[in-house]
């Protein structure tokens, strides 16, 4: 039905966004929760079915154990318990809201999606998001997170006016440290107010160097420069650059502390 009707048919997970952002051209809704895609499995990394609710991830021992509990830390901040009981991980990725807290986190975790568009295939989350901007809308089947590496750490920071409100800006960082030296670094900032994206220039600065206070300061400055900060009704571009600087500093400091050199 989705293939036949094109834009007139919408896939529905929890259905929250389809409700809130009513799509005028939609004349058919296809409920994906009737297929069995609600699961969290540890298989080295983590495999999460697309229709798994936030609550189901939060309450799963596999989700809670992943990478020092980062999923719990972030997903507990998403919307309210009432919405977390209904909203699905696949739905939030499919909606791709620029203020999403989930997307920057999954970007730095190097998430890969299993999608279906006539046949099942794997695609990195970043590719899914860029394809989406050209109109491609494959169904999301599964979200896969890689196995944790020795010495890795992840941190997330969101700035909101209230605990319930969407972020004015958010950021996530992931790094693999070896003796305090950064082997892999991934940094993403969202809500600039554009959709979250990785900041490769910042990541390059961090790799192959000690993750010390000077490196963190340089990375934070570069982040403030690199983001596509703009004014909107929530905040000015200048304020967003300041938040990005503070957020990335906090994330990287936390990772450095986890890595034992803080």
């Amino acid at each position: 039905m989705l293939a036949e009707r094109g834009k007139a048919a919408r896939a529905v997970g929890g259905g929250i966004d389809v409700h809130l952002f009513r799509v005028q051209e939609a004349s058919a809704l296809v409920d994906l929760t009737s297929i069995d895609l609600a699961y969290v499995r540890a298989d080295g990394g983590l495999a999460i079915g697309a229709t798994t609710t936030f609550t189901e991830i939060l309450e799963s021992s596999e989700g809670a154990a992943y990478l020092g509990g980062i999923l719990v830390e972030v997903l507990e901040q998403v919307a309210s318990p009432l919405q977390r009981n209904q909203g699905t991980i696949g739905g939030t990725i499919g909606s791709a809201h620029p203020w999403s807290d989930v997307i920057p986190l999954l970007l730095v975790l190097d998430a890969e999606l299993t999608v279906y568009d006539g046949q099942e295939r794997q695609t990195p989350l970043a590719r899914y998001l860029s394809d989406r901007s050209t109109g491609a809308r494959p169904l999301i089947v599964e979200i896969r997170l890689p196995a944790a590496s020795r010495g890795d750490g992840c941190a997330f920071e969101a700035f909101t006016t209230t605990g319930f409100d969407v972020a004015i800006l958010n950021c996530a960082a992931y790094a693999v440290l070896d003796g305090g030296r950064c082997e892999i670094a991934r940094v993403a900032v969202g809500g600039t107010p554009a959709l979250a994206g990785r900041l490769f220039a910042v990541e390059e600065m961090l790799v192959d160097a000690p993750l010390d206070e000077a490196a963190i300061e340089r990375a934070a400055e570069k982040t403030a420069e690199a983001i596509d900060a703009r004014d909107d009704r929530r905040a000015t571009a200048d304020y967003r650059r300041t938040l990005a600087r503070v957020g990335v500093t906090r994330c990287l400091r936390r990772i450095a502390q986890q890595g034992g050199i803080g």
Partner: protein, 158 residues
């Protein structure tokens, strides 16, 4: 389209519009304890239990409740006795105008069905999707705590 669901223990088969919200269906069926608030999932006045989990019925398509068990504030009493959470809200003065109360109670029932001894922090988080415009929330939090104590002390534990 036609769906079949259980509302407060009674199985009903109803005709719905495919785009209809569960909130509107419930009120159309005479279940008026479910309150219309913001209509956008911010206030929690419309919270109901769907298969044991509290959700905003203003954000849920009625079609998705096909086959589900829906419990509203009206369905919490048993044999004429109020649910311990309802009793505790009365005893602690957790109600002023009462408009948010059904949703607050539903969120608290969901919490206590999974966590028999929640901390104040856990209670606050569990009620964070329910807005009250009269109170400072203190009495509702006390009420949930008291209900948890009573439920642990014996009697009804759902």
């Amino acid at each position: 389209m036609t769906i079949t669901l259980t509302i407060n223990g009674t199985r009903r088969t109803v005709d719905i519009d495919p785009g209809e919200k569960l909130l509107d269906l419930l009120r159309r069926e005479g279940v008026m304890g479910v309150k219309v608030g913001c209509g956008s999932g911010d206030c929690g006045a419309c919270a109901v239990l769907v298969d044991g989990r509290a959700v905003n019925s203003c954000l849920l398509y009625a079609a998705k409740a096909d086959g589900a068990e829906v419990v509203t504030i009206e369905g919490l009493e048993r044999d004429g006795a109020l649910h311990p959470v309802q009793e505790a809200f009365l005893d602690e003065g957790g109600i002023q105008c009462g408009y948010c109360t059904p949703g607050m109670v539903i969120s608290a029932v969901d919490l206590l069905s999974r966590n028999r001894d929640p901390s104040e922090e856990e209670i606050r988080l569990a009620l964070s999707g329910n807005l009250c415009r009269c109170t400072g929330y203190t009495k509702q939090i006390q009420a949930v705590r008291k209900a948890a104590e009573r439920m642990r002390g014996g009697g009804r534990d759902d």
